[in-house]
Amino acid sequence: MKKKDLHVILFLILAAAVLLKGTHIRSVEEYYRTHIDDITPESETVFISIRCNTVLNNRDKLNPALQSDEFVPPDGVILQKSEYVLREGDTAFDMLERAVRANRIQMEYQGGNLNVYNSVYVQGINYLYEFSCGPLSGWMYLVNGVFPNYGSSKYTLCDGDTVEWVYTCDLGCDVGCEWMEGG
């Protein structure tokens, strides 16, 4: 009788150990202490910016809890256009993640393994989430002024690309994206 219990306890300890091995806990300071590659003359770079100007025209639709300059900057610019070193094989999402981490901007995303598109979905940046400003709102991205019609973690960037992350309140119509209308 006792032996059986012992087996169960051992199994539970093993399961807990596996679970703990899989979790990686870091303090906030540790997480944000990332190294950003220095820009050298021979390094490949891209430009990235994050804007939410459309919210400024739709203040009435914005979630009341977000009605503050802290979450929606008065000029609508969350991250000024800035230059970052492009690493081999970096996607638009990798660049965004590195940029927000370097600037301590909050960002939440759904991992690529969790949806049918096999691509990361950016749910919110700087506490501004999908549906925070009306039912048609969310984050979209442009590369060199064009909206690529696929997920940000599937778009591999090239040297000199300009990535813009923009918040739409109207399924892309208010940020100049045409193809969403047909869908």
Partner: protein, 292 residues
Amino acid sequence: MRAFESVHPAAAFAYFISVLLVAMFTAHPVLLCEALLGAVLFCAILSAKGFWKNMASYVPLFAIIALSNPLFSHNGVTMLFFLNGNPVTLEAVLYGADIAVMLIAVIYWFQCYSFVMTSDKFLYLFGKAIPKLSLVLSMALRFIPLFKAQLIRVNRAQKAMGLYSGKSFTDKLRSAGRVLLALITWSLENAVETGDSMRARGYGLHGRSHFALFRFTGRDGVLLGISAALTGLTLTGRALGGADFAFYPRITGISTAPLSLAVYLAFGALTLLPFIIETEESLKWTYFVSKI
């Protein structure tokens, strides 16, 4: 017999529905704490026996809900630490605790409901208007208490037969699994049998009447009026923004504006109503007994 059990079914039903309607559709911590307090006090009076043991079983439920929310929700400005690259925030933990309070409060209210609104009362209210649905509902609401009673019975029978009576933890678990299996078969069979039995007795046939000893007295009218007024006050106050509260991205403070205070007071009075009635009745009883 408790005082609230002698209230007319219509008044009692209206009371429970209005409390549950407010409690289930708000996330305001003050209102939810009031709902929990009222339900716990009411439940303590209705089921004095086994109340504390019952309460202890809700602690793990509370912990599970409160701690699982931050694993799925990463919104919130106060980051505590990062778990696998995702922030665990204070706001998410508090929101989880808030939802846990809501769930437990609602569970307690339904416990009180099943004590007070026995199936005969429910059938009295809705048996004529919606005979099929009211039968299904009253059977469904009766199911959990029935399941529990049968669980104890099966357990005892198994113990008496000497099955898995060892002290080993594993054996206990296995015996619980066996009991559960027996219970599920029993409940399926029971449902069919109940249906057959009801049909055999002519339930829901046209032209049948039934007798019930419920009379709508002035006291019931007063209770109905008070609960309707308090619910109306709470709902209007809420519609006017008196109970606005946001957890994400930053917790808004608990408002102390007059409108909010009125909402808290109205809903607090509404949830404490049964407790007040019961206390009043028991005080009266002790007073009369002391005179004998």
